[in-house]
């Protein structure tokens, strides 16, 4: 007789583990199934973990979790071919408890987090792929895995299987995502001695820095690049929507190669040794792409539900919070012995009342706008660089004249009206 659990969670990423952890802590009989060799083995992330949502689950987690560095400085670069316009914030208050956010290596963090769920009582099974949900009379009653005798049953199944979520697609919750709803990101972990990192980024041992790079990092396509500091390595990566990649006929690794050899970036990684190369999709469809998230006996969380804020590169926190909300609904459903769609819809409601959907709604037009009007990345970034160069070059021209010249250059390149239009549109998209 196959076993029956209270809840089966598919996928031990931040979303699934957070759900499994919370359910187990509340005494439910939880089975967490992960296809990787261990949680985190295949998981990719630029590497910024936010404190708040993690703290909700495990207070003071920074005292024991395998974190890399607390981020004390965030830089933003508008990068052109041979120049960069940079701004940012560095604050020592972020370097002390309770910190703001952290760089992490997912391979280590996910393992640790899953261990916490196991300690709380969840059963974790790895190297096992869930191939489909078992549906009886319109209700999800369990999952089928690729193992012999591979069926397992549960009152409710939580799908935390990440961006592609084949499982919720099989259930008809969403269609294949369009190429403009997902970004393809490639990244590398580059090993570099601690001292070198500290010197190059102007940091102490337990301080981290993140750099978000716009403009030439994606050869002007919609997307961003990043460079984050770990303890003894850097995470460097670049992503653009799949549609831009197709349109520009780019290969992802070529883009990463281009970035690594960019004169503004190269000195940071020089002498480093590539330790890992990873590629992954990010759901960037935002608000409009969020699929059905609750059905009869089933709930969808994290990337599988498209819960990512691409503009602020927040994903893991939304994953964790949605996992928590799902757990709360499951615990309640368990108490009442009711796993119907209407009961599980409480999760949907909680999700829509949380910061997650509210944030996604706020930016619902952003990606779309930038995708449709490539001038933001292709033209404005170089223009801003030229402007800065002009402004800061000391050549005897009065500053007032320089400003005039800059404005003139901009408007002559794109026309006054169109510049204003662009600015208004961008402001509307992110306001």
């Amino acid at each position: 007789m196959p076993e029956k659990f209270d809840v089966i969670v598919v996928g031990a990423g931040p979303a699934g583990t957070s759900c499994a952890y919370t359910c187990a802590k509340n005494g439910l009989n939880v089975l967490l199934i992960e296809r990787g060799e261990y949680p985190g083995a295949k998981n990719v992330m630029g590497g910024v973990l936010y404190r708040q949502q993690m703290e909700e689950l495990i207070p003071d987690f920074w005292k024991e979790a395998p974190l890399e560095r607390p981020v004390i400085e965030q830089r933003f670069w508008m990068m052109d071919k041979e120049s960069v316009l940079s701004f940012g914030y560095k604050g020592l208050e972020w370097g002390v408890e309770p910190y703001n956010n952290f760089t992490v290596l997912r391979a280590q963090f996910d393992q640790w987090f899953a261990k916490k769920a196991v300690e709380a009582g969840a059963l974790l099974i790895t190297e096992t792929v869930v191939t489909e949900c078992i549906v009886e009379d319109g209700k999800v009653v369990g999952v089928r895995t690729d193992r012999p005798d591979g069926e397992v049953f549960a009152d409710v199944v939580v799908l935390a299987d990440g961006v592609n979520s084949l499982l919720s697609k099989q259930l008809g919750f969403h269609k294949e995502f369009r190429p403009d709803e997902v970004a393809l990101t490639v990244m590398e972990v580059v090993n570099l001695p601690k001292d070198k990192i500290n010197d190059r980024f102007n940091l102490e041992d337990n301080q981290g820095c993140t750099i978000e790079i716009f403009g030439d990092s994606t050869k002007g396509n919609l997307g961003t690049a990043f460079l984050y500091t770990n303890k003894e390595s850097l995470n460097i990566g670049v992503g653009t929507t799949l549609s831009s990649m197709i349109k520009a006929k780019m290969k992802p690794y070529e883009l990463l190669d281009y970035l690594k050899n960019h004169p503004m970036v190269k000195p940071f990684i020089a002498g480093g040794e590539s330790a890992e190369y990873l590629a992954h999709l990010i759901p960037e469809g935002g608000y409009r792409s969020v699929p059905k998230v609750a059905g009869n006996g089933v709930i969808v969380v994290g990337d599988a539900a498209q819960l990512v804020n691409a503009i602020h590169r927040e994903g893991s926190n939304m994953a964790m919070h949605s996992g928590l909300l799902a757990a709360e609904t499951v615990i309640e459903a368990h108490r009442l012995g009711n796993f119907s769609q209407s009961m599980l819809n409480n999760y949907r409601e909680a999700l829509y009342n949380s910061f997650i959907i509210k944030d996604l709604e706020k930016y619902k037009d952003a990606a779309h706008t930038f995708e449709k009007y490539p001038q933001y990345f292709k033209e404005y970034v170089p223009m801003m660089n030229q402007a800065a160069s002009k402004f800061f070059t000391v050549d005897g021209t009065p500053k007032r004249d320089k400003q005039k010249q800059i404005i003139k250059n901009m408007t002559s390149q794109r026309g006054t009206l169109r510049v204003l239009q662009d600015l208004y549109r961008a402001w509307k998209a992110v306001k």
């Binding site: 059963l123 099974i125 096992t128 895995t145 012999p148 005798d149 591979g150 069926e151 397992v152 330790a275």
Partner: protein, 274 residues
């Protein structure tokens, strides 16, 4: 039939990186795994048990997190597992390892007599293959190393028929039981564990023993103290002296090479086939 399989947790040397400056392991990059040969050893025990019935135990020595390889063994089909873990075991070479494991095996045998012990051919972190034969000597049972097939297990006669790999072929050996086998990878294919095994493994809590849980232990034979060998120095392998690069166009280089080869008479001769 009670089979005990000795299993070791090792860093995955396929992925392992060495820091060229300090010559130390970069353990960040290397996940700890069940020694691949030991996985085949457990699988072979499962195959034998399918025919004879009985119990499969696994035994490991290592730090507390080595319970992971015991759970992994339960996934493959072991029934139970013991980890001996104690600071006193730390730093053991093969001699001290076989001593500690043999003491644990004596205790296991008290609970349920052992018919067969299976080890991997070697552990991929040390590549020595010395622990298995060492255990056999200490327990005074016959070892059969480099096993590529367990042809027959005769429980009534207490004998096994085994194919053992040699440099140029193999031999067919009959051994009395109890005995100790060390197995090659080609002995079997690891099967994909069924879901119920996975669930049992996830639930399984290995039994952990410290030195004091074992009987008649001479502490001076344990760990670093009981290890006659020490690592002197580590170095990157010396590269042999490089030779000469030829130069000129492709044709020139090829004809230079032909001349050199023809001059070196002892390299080859032309034998007339006419």
């Amino acid at each position: 039939m009670h089979i005990v399989v000795c299993v070791k947790q090792v860093p995955d040397t396929k992925i392992i990186k060495i820091n060229p400056k300090t010559n130390t392991l970069d353990r960040r990059s290397a996940p700890a795994i069940l020694n691949p040969y030991d996985a085949h050893a457990v699988q072979e025990a499962v195959k034998i048990k399918e025919k004879t019935g009985g119990t499969i135990s696994v035994l490991s020595m290592g730090p507390p997190q080595a319970t992971a390889v015991i759970k992994k063994s339960v996934e493959i089909g072991a029934d139970q597992g013991y980890l001996i873990s104690d600071r006193a075991f730390a730093g053991a070479d093969t001699l001290a390892t076989s001593y500690a494991l043999s003491k644990a095996l004596e205790r296991i045998a008290k609970e349920l007599p052992i018919d067969m012990i299976i080890c991997g051919k070697h552990a991929i972190d040390g590549d020595t293959g010395q622990v298995g034969p060492g255990i056999a000597r200490r327990l005074d049972i016959p070892p059969v190393t480099n096993v590529i097939e367990v042809t027959e297990v005769n429980e009534r006669e207490k004998t096994v028929l085994i194919k053992r790999k040699l440099t140029n072929g193999y031999e067919l050996v009959q051994s009395e039981m109890p005995c100790l086998l060390t197995v090659e990878k080609e002995i079997n294919d690891i099967e994909y564990s069924p879901m119920p095994n996975m669930i049992s493994a996830a639930r399984y809590e290995p039994i952990i023993w410290a030195v004091d849980d074992l009987e008649n232990v001479d502490r001076s034979q344990l760990g670093l103290k009981g290890s006659p060998t020490v690592v002197g120095k580590m170095f990157t392998p010396p590269r042999p002296e490089g030779g000469k690069k030829l130069d000129g166009s492709a044709d020139e280089q090829v004809s230079q090479l032909m001349d050199i080869l023809m001059e070196k008479k002892d390299l080859f001769t032309l034998q007339s086939t006419k």
